[in-house]
Symmetry: C2
Subunit: 443 residues, 2 copies
């Protein structure tokens, strides 16, 4: 019995334009606010932080933005990525639903993150930026920027969340093998890092602490610019190659999605995957966009929609989105890429507008789902991706109960080959749970 079907696109089908969802949304996003004046930030402020091309994309109201030929050429290394139908999973769940997944795991850095890293490194090179400084959670973004920097000849400095830095040596080694620098956050290289360590020497770090250290470093070195792996509008924009390809692949087989499922930390894979379908939804298509997040960091299911800082040091602008509070330090779960206190502002807005549902899952259920998927289909998902698979399994069970032959499509954001120690821990002692989130911290 066939375990799966695969639907490819030719290399010529790599998208020529990114899709900007902003002009299609019912409301425009709120401005970013200056952390000192609380006034909307202008281009002058942003120019000290980001390459200019990205600032233009950040605030663009154009629906379509051309992908530079050099970036399309770089995408050719692994794009277009395949769409698969997961027949073995459907049979195992005995569901009438059809389950498809868009496979971003063939990227050389292992995840969808490279879609934006290549664009950012290209623009940095074009504008003479010497070094991109960034933060990384589980290390997937740092790995992507390392590959992209090597490809376009731009140095990268990666602040890696301390808990991941300690538990994921392979990610560090990956970044270093590409000739780039990686430092733990919090660490002794910035004033902010030194303060945090003085107050709590065993501080596990979070993406919010790493962003603060990256911001401080960029401010201190004029040839450097900030690079973000999620959160910002331009990053989500770059990721829309995922959804644009998926849309074309589904159309080619006459499939119409009822459910679009992705994991969410900040939301870059969800946004890149689902935003290109939102215009259809706004035009009346019945379609559920479903975000799967960790119970240990339940931004969309337990957060509040309000202005908050993007970084724990309050060095960068404020944005309006769903947040657990910038001081929230999530427990050190294995899906380090989902340990961020806030959703990307555009993902928050879409949720606020009622276009996005969310569910939170405990870690052991997530690893059970990832292990099942690996054994059925041969592909080992990243812990982040396994959240989406967990939500797909739930949805498929509901379809069985309701005898609904729905079409479920999920984003397989990355492979778990560098997360094997996490799978090992799960199998050795599956019931070791993440710490529960104290209610007081969820603000």
């Amino acid at each position: 019995m066939n375990a799966l079907e695969r639907f490819d696109l030719p290399v010529s089908a790599i998208p020529r334009r990114w899709y900007n969802v902003v002009p299609d949304l019912p409301e425009l996003p709120d401005d970013y606010l200056d952390p000192v004046t609380r006034e909307p930030v202008g281009p002058q402020y942003l120019e000290t932080l980001l390459p200019r091309a990205l600032i233009a994309q950040e605030t663009s109201l154009e629906r379509w933005i051309a992908i530079p030929q050099e970036v399309r050429d770089a995408y050719r290394l692994w794009r277009p990525t395949p769409l698969y139908r997961a027949l073995a999973l459907e049979r195992h769940l005995d569901t009438p639903a059809r389950i498809y997944f868009k496979y971003e795991g063939s990227s050389p850095s292992g995840s969808h993150k490279l879609n934006s890293a290549l664009a950012q490194a290209y623009y940095a090179r074009l504008e003479g930026v010497e070094r991109l400084v960034t933060d990384t959670g589980a290390g997937q973004w740092g790995s992507a920027l390392a590959v992209a920097g090597a490809r376009f000849g731009v140095d990268a400095l990666v602040y890696m969340v301390r808990t991941s830095y300690k538990t994921k040596p392979a990610r560090r080694q990956f970044i270093e093998t590409y000739g780039q620098q990686v430092l733990p956050s919090p660490g002794p290289h910035t004033a902010y890092g030194r303060d945090l360590l003085a107050a709590r020497p065993d501080h596990p770090g979070s993406e919010a602490t790493a962003v603060s250290e990256a911001l401080e470093t960029v401010r201190a070195h004029p040839g450097s610019r900030l690079s973000m792996g999620a959160f910002a509008n331009h990053v989500l924009l770059h990721q829309t190659v995922i959804g644009l390809e998926t849309r074309e692949q589904l159309q080619s087989i006459g499939a119409v999605p009822d459910y679009l499922v992705a994991s969410v930390g900040c939301g870059s894979n969800l946004a890149g995957f689902a935003f290109p379908f939102l215009a259809d939804k706004l035009a009346g298509a019945e379609m559920t966009v479903l975000a799967a997040e960790p119970a240990a960091c339940p931004t969309l299911t337990a957060g509040e929609y309000r202005y908050d800082y993007a970084d724990s040091g309050r060095l960068g602008p404020l944005a309006r989105t769903y947040t657990l509070g910038h001081a929230f330090v999530p427990p050190p779960i294995h899906a380090g890429g989902l340990r961020y206190h806030g959703a990307a502002p555009l993902v928050g807005l879409v949720r606020h507008e009622g276009l996005l549902e969310a569910r939170a899952y405990p870690q052991h259920e997530v690893f059970e789902a990832g292990t099942l998927f690996a054994r059925l289909h041969g592909l080992l998902p990243a812990p982040e991706t396994a959240h989406a698979i967990r939500a797909v399994i739930d949805t498929a069970h509901q379809c069985r109960e309701r005898r609904h032959p729905a079409t479920i499509v999920f984003c397989y954001s990355g492979h778990g080959l560098l997360d094997l120690p996490a799978y090992h821990s799960h199998h050795t002692d599956p019931m070791v749970e993440e710490e529960p989130v104290p209610h007081a911290a969820v603000r």
Copy 2:
């Protein structure tokens, strides 16, 4: 500037038949000999070791052998694999040569090994075999059999060379995540392993010790059969999907190979990649087939062509091939997949017939080549694959000197994502060399 070109085949182009080189060779392979009687082994002997379908393939004189539809379906997960042109490497080397590579790193187990593992697990399932027992060096074969066993519902028991078992925990964890069993070799689970450990408690193991333990286990458990990741003719046969696809891809762009380059431990990726071109070579095409091996285990460059045991415990048949002697224990280099004392008999025969050249490289040159390739092209090669890249760089330099616009094609046998500690060691102290091979041991 474009870093590479990519040439894909549609899913429908997955080969329908494997290519058996035997009927096209000038001489037939020599028989396997029974370890006790030294008489040619018959099917009755082999039936205690292998599934019947594989015995038929082992001794077949048919040029083409049909690939079962179930195996082709399973290949769809990642096949056909892309052929790339490495433009950035060409420019970096300032060579008039064109460099192409066939990319086997997108396999879910990370290497070409899955091509044969899926076939072996399929036949085992078909014939009611309960468990496949095997050996693995670096762990790539064990990983492939774990994925294939999970896919077709067959248990796998993997004896992993002790030095890799200790230094590559991710490979162990990979095998276990797929629900399969992995044990260190030598280890206390077999009489042979206990003997070795009694004589030398820190014995690093080798593929030859692991094969002996696998053989002992199969003999003791009638529902078990042996599975081999290289060496045997049927394994090389399964790997010919690599070369058959490559041939079609090269033809589609009008390229004719002057050099076919691959790394060699036993030689399964070299054979699978290059054998489908041998008929052209025998018909007069000027074409160099080049094997790259580690200086620490120089089977083809320093071995002797004679009958020898395939396993160090002398439990299995003898075969005629290039060998360093079945008691040879190579130093624990990072490219654990190349630590085997003998070439596959068909690879040895092809070398003996003058159809194959070989070069040996020291470890630090290999890692330099792998690192260069990763930074130029974004893809991190397995240490085994990096041997081939080292040989390609040498060949491209020669082409520059001779102003020869040759077409060089190499087999990118697998990715190095689970070998990051090895890259890390290289970058930390690149001049730590493998121990030199004592001359007395090379017999």
